[in-house]
Symmetry: C2
Subunit: 241 residues, 2 copies
């Protein structure tokens, strides 16, 4: 009798936006695993903490190098690969010993989530169940009070790590856009939105639904580095009824 | 003391995927409103029904014309407009009488949701709070066991009502795609995916997370009319680690 691996989406940050199913699985899991940045509590952990059983074993995996390596450094990819290998091995030990393991995931596990790298490694040999979650972007446009897409609007989701030219050409062929993981890329994102003619509609949302959220029109926001959990929203202008 | 309008996302269909906040607001609301197709229970209602208070007043609004008018008929838009006007007036009466009103919304209210048409009409004069939900597309890719986007993947979301040419040009510039509201448009969607070279990766998902869900590779699915709650998923092929 081996255990089941649960990839549990905990939603955008507000613990109250977790699903009933996610809360139940987290409360009942004998082993709870999560990724976090060194020196920080971890966003998924912080969201889920009120639901964890005091008896659960906690497996915390600290990401290797986050901001301490220059972008594009050749050591980054292999380090991440062995990091996920190691996490997969440690989780597989618990599954083989018969324990269910709940992996806490920010937002929705199959939508840009790190859980996918564990799923790749473990889903062939182990029983896996994924619980979807409310995405960070849904949390952000809701908090901004911004109806995002309607009618025939086309929505595109980009990461801010794309080149300025790729962002511009993508923005030109959609009606509504989300640019995720802004981090240090705000000057580039701003330039792309300006060239694509949608800077005036763009909103900057940082840590949406969390206690320290910030919401500003992008044209009023400085280019200072932003957290990873910041995104830019451009709402659609689809047919009003 | 006027009431608050809650736009409550109930998620993709499985009642267990509702958020803790949505379940609590629905259970406590003295008035619960929802849209439905004539002769059907209504998907949002069906999802939320286990949480409704027996004492709550239910306001059900039946959509005018759904499949009985030909596509593009000039009577459609004005009929929908006065439909939303009428629903807004009836909800506003309850708010003015001091009652909170929870509007049940499939998926996420600000993501292609009908709730937006009430929000347009009521949010200036009334206190509104929107509760985000797990989108139908998240429910579908989760049930399909399909990691959707990772790394720098660009995701685009289209509606199947777009022209074949618009679908093709949109599909050519993204890495992953969702085509929503398939309905009678499957032959056109299939043709567009074939021309864009991604028909082999495409998956058809109908009523994902609901008891009668169906998941098939699109190339194995017939062109028979599909329900409104059917979508096509093309997963990204972003960098694996």
């Amino acid at each position: 009798m081996t255990g089941t691996l649960y990839g549990v989406g905990v939603g955008p940050g507000d613990p109250d936006l977790m699903s009933l199913k996610a809360a139940r699985i987290i409360a009942g899991a004998p082993v709870v695993a999560y990724f976090a940045k060194r020196g920080q509590p971890g966003n998924a952990y912080r969201t889920a903490t009120g639901h964890l059983s005091a008896r659960a074993e906690q497996l915390r995996f600290d990401y290797p190098y986050t901001t301490d390596l220059p972008v594009g450094d050749a050591r980054y990819e292999p380090a991440l690969e062995s990091f996920y290998d190691m996490a997969g091995v440690r989780i597989a030990e618990r599954l083989q010993a018969g324990a269910d393991v709940a992996v806490l995931c920010e937002g929705d596990p199959f939508f840009y989530g790190s859980y996918m790298y564990l799923h790749d490694r473990l889903s062939t040999a182990h029983r896996c169940e994924v619980v979807p979650g409310i995405t960070g972007m849904s949390g952000c446009w809701t908090r901004a009070g911004m109806p995002m897409v309607r009618g025939d609007d086309v929505l595109s989701v980009f990461t801010a790590t794309l080149s300025e030219n790729d962002l511009v050409s993508g923005l030109q062929v959609c009606d509504a856009a989300v640019i995720m993981k802004v981090g240090r890329n705000l000057p580039k994102v701003r330039a792309a939105l300006t060239r694509a003619g949608c800077i005036d509609r763009a909103l900057y949302v940082e840590r949406g639904t969390m206690p320290d959220e910030r919401i500003e029109r992008l044209c009023e926001r400085s280019d200072a580095p932003s957290p990873y959990f910041a995104l830019v929203l451009v709402p659609g202008e689809g047919g009003r009824r």
